[in-house]
């Protein structure tokens, strides 16, 4: 039988939960509520006159074909970043998990990129691929390939995906490695004795047992690709060429901070909030059923 530990009365539990509640209210509910409120207004930048416009901000957005296109861009960008950053991290984690010599060094080196802020990561990649002075674009030029992410949509998208993926692999690697180390050796050894080769063991035992980690990372990486990649996009492409790398969160920034259009910017935040909330609910409802804890 399960032994339950619980508190008597309500005071201590309430006291213990208060800090967390306060943080959630101040840093989540309050800003989110403000965004919802402002999305119904069309204020001037200085807040001198504020007009209630109902859902006009949303109508304005959905009438804009460039905004609709930004949804596709975000979907492509987010799914590729999530896929590659998790795939590469899992591969590296499996290799690092099997290392006997020098495992510490490999692990440390693989974790390093996580210490680099997205904006700095963006600048590093921008320097490598700068169309005039970039090291890699220069070598590509020697090979006869004219790299120009300033005008080529696909190259621009590829570059921001690579930069965003690179700065996320470490985070995923850490979780996958911890997940792998939590799998009891005895199960794997038993399978090996039964004659299962590595990849068979991986797909039938290790991968299913990793599923809680994988599920957690899918949620976290989608959130990352939606929001935290702003710095990378801002430093490398500024959403261009054209709008080919303008993801939703970048448009929130450019309308709010460059265009000073707070109403539209707030409406876009609300839309983002709804999308990410919806995606997370979907994942918990359908994907989580396949997760073995």
């Amino acid at each position: 039988m399960e032994k339950r530990v619980y508190f008597k009365g309500w005071f201590l539990p309430a006291l213990l939960i208060t800090p967390q509640l306060l943080i959630t209210i101040v840093f989540f509910f309050y800003p989110a509520g403000t965004a919802i409120w402002w999305s119904l207004f069309n204020p001037d930048p200085f807040g001198l006159s504020t007009k209630f416009v109902g859902f006009a901000n949303f109508d304005f957005l959905f009438a804009d074909s460039y905004y609709i296109e930004s949804f596709y861009t975000t979907a492509i960008f987010s799914s590729l970043v999530t896929f590659f950053s998790m795939g590469i991290a899992l591969y590296l984690a499996v290799l690092a998990d099997r290392l006997i010599k020098g495992a510490g060094i490999y692990k440390t080196l693989l974790i390093w990129p996580y210490a680099v802020a997205p904006a700095i990561a963006g600048i590093l990649w921008m320097f490598l691929f700068d169309t005039q002075t970039g090291l890699i674009s220069w070598y590509l030029g020697l090979l006869g390939y004219d790299w120009n992410h300033l005008l080529n949509d696909t190259e621009a998208m590829g570059l921001v995906i690579v930069a965003s993926t690179w700065s996320r692999v470490s985070y995923n690697f850490l979780f996958f490695l911890a997940g792998l180390q939590a799998i009891p050796r005895a199960i794997i050894e038993a399978a090996a004795i039964d004659g299962a080769r590595f990849w068979r063991r991986f797909w039938t035992i290790i991968f299913p047992l990793l599923s809680p980690t994988t599920f957690f990372l899918v949620v976290m990486n989608i959130v990352y690709a939606f929001f935290d990649t702003f710095g990378v996009i801002h430093t490398i492409t500024k959403g261009g060429p054209g709008q080919s790398t303008t993801i939703l969160v970048y448009k929130v920034y450019s309308d709010g901070f460059v265009g000073l259009d707070l109403g539209s910017s707030a409406a876009q935040s609300v839309i983002l909030l709804v999308i990410v909330g919806f995606l997370t609910i979907l994942q918990f409802k359908f994907v989580e059923k396949k997760v073995h804890y």
Binding site: N42, F46, L48, S49, L151, G242, L260
Partner: protein
């Protein structure tokens, strides 16, 4: 609101100034402030950098909403319409000056600079600080290497086109590049050829203005640039002034950029360079008219005490004095914004020892401005420029024709103008 950063001298009234300059410009700005503070003891000006132009404007707006705003805010020229529309947030400069009884003559400023920051009824709302205009930078060594006479006539785009052909056929990798594509190749192009960029005198005569930069002159120019891009004669380097890196390194032969690029080019260029007038299209009636400015002006924000505004007036008068203006012009390549500063610089022999530094001034003032060449006053213009950038990239990559790109930019920009109009009505 006295003292956001209190703890300084108690007797002197503090005047806070938020700006966007760093590097050499930031140093020169700080020197002006120090000079003012040392010259008198009633007021103490405190300068703070708040990021780039957009970030500084944002910081000022956020501070105003929180009632913690500075007295003076530097705003780039594209933010002018936003500031003008914010009637309750600003204290017009003419009012600051007359309240304080300061000796101030708006006619002392050169026409196109004054016009940019003055209402149609003649009231000057902000104080011009740094103003520049685009010119053509020539790498003379690159011309010689390509077998061209570096003294050749480059006054028209037709002649520039011929030079580009020869540079390209001699194997030059970057015959032409540019900075600030919308500012140089659409906004200035329109004024220089005396064609409208937007209706209602480019927005000066009303907020119900509409963009019209998809006329024949603009289409012809952008199409020519697009063709040059396709043939490898025009190399696109980015939306801001990224092209400067390649020009200063000697990799590009021609570069269209602000006259304020002078300090950087003079310091870094290891080749023989020259400043020429911005080219125009021969055959367009009225061309060349005059070019328009870019840069920033200083806005005085409302809600401070009259004693503090006296300090603001004293400081702004100091900034517009001939000595300060002439030094600023000579050190930076920005225009001499007052007539006296221009004359003073000429008399000092500066233009003889630094040939070409007077071109920007001449280009702006050789004709008096017309209703479509005095500047632009458009809401949400920073964002509209972003849309223009996006559409022009479509032309440079060969995906769009000049006509469809410009028409699309006009259509998208007009939506924002209507939105700006409705939020400021």
């Amino acid at each position: 609101m006295t003292g956001i950063l209190s703890g300084t001298a108690l007797s002197a009234t503090e005047v806070h100034w938020w700006h966007a300059f760093k590097g050499r410009l930031g140093t020169l700005l700080a020197e002006q402030v120090d000079q003012f503070n040392a010259a008198q003891s009633d007021y103490k000006v405190i300068q703070n950098r708040k990021g780039n132009y957009s970030e500084t404007l944002n910081a000022g707006i956020a501070a105003f909403r929180a009632k913690k705003h500075p007295h003076i805010l530097m705003v780039f020229e594209v933010g002018t319409a936003t500031m003008m529309a914010a009637k309750g947030a600003i204290k017009p400069m003419y009012e600051v000056m007359s309240d304080a009884g300061a000796n101030f003559d708006p006619d002392g400023f050169i026409g196109p600079v004054k016009g940019y920051y003055t209402t149609t009824s003649g009231e000057m709302l902000s104080m011009p600080y740094n103003s520049s205009t685009p010119v053509l930078w020539v790498n003379r060594d690159a011309f010689k290497k390509a077998g061209l006479n570096p003294d050749m006539d480059l006054s028209t785009w037709q002649k520039v086109g011929n030079a580009l052909d020869k540079l390209k056929s001699s194997g030059h990798k970057c015959p032409l590049t540019t900075a600030w594509q919308s500012w140089v190749h659409l906004e200035n192009l329109s004024a220089y050829h005396n064609v409208p960029f937007a209706t209602k005198e480019n927005g000066f005569a009303g907020m119900d203005t509409e963009l019209v930069f998809n006329g024949p002159v603009q289409i012809k120019h952008i199409q020519a640039m697009g063709d040059w891009a396709k043939e490898g004669k025009f190399i696109y380097a980015g939306r801001r002034n990224e092209g400067g890196k390649a020009f200063r390194a000697g990799e590009c032969a021609l570069y269209t950029e602000s006259s304020a690029g002078y300090a950087g080019i003079k310091k870094n260029a290891k080749f023989d360079f020259e400043i020429r007038h911005l080219p125009y299209w021969e055959g367009v009636q009225g061309a060349p008219q005059n070019t328009i400015i870019g840069g920033s002006s200083l806005w005085v924000l409302s809600g401070h005490s009259s004693k503090e505004y006296k300090g603001v007036a004293a400081f702004l008068s100091f900034l517009s004095s001939p000595v300060i203006q002439a030094a600023w012009h000579q050190n930076t390549g920005y225009l001499p914004v007052t007539l006296v500063a221009g004359k003073k610089t000429k008399a000092s022999g500066f233009y003889d020892s630094n040939p070409g530094t007077d071109i920007a001034g001449i280009q702006m003032t050789r004709k008096s401005t017309t209703s479509v060449s005095k500047g632009l006053r458009l809401g949400s213009f920073d964002q509209i420029r972003g849309m223009i950038d996006e559409e022009l990239e479509g032309v440079w990559s060969g995906k769009k024709t000049a006509k469809s790109a410009l028409s699309s930019a006009v259509k998208r920009g007009n939506v924002l103008l209507r939105r700006f109009e409705s939020s400021n009505r």
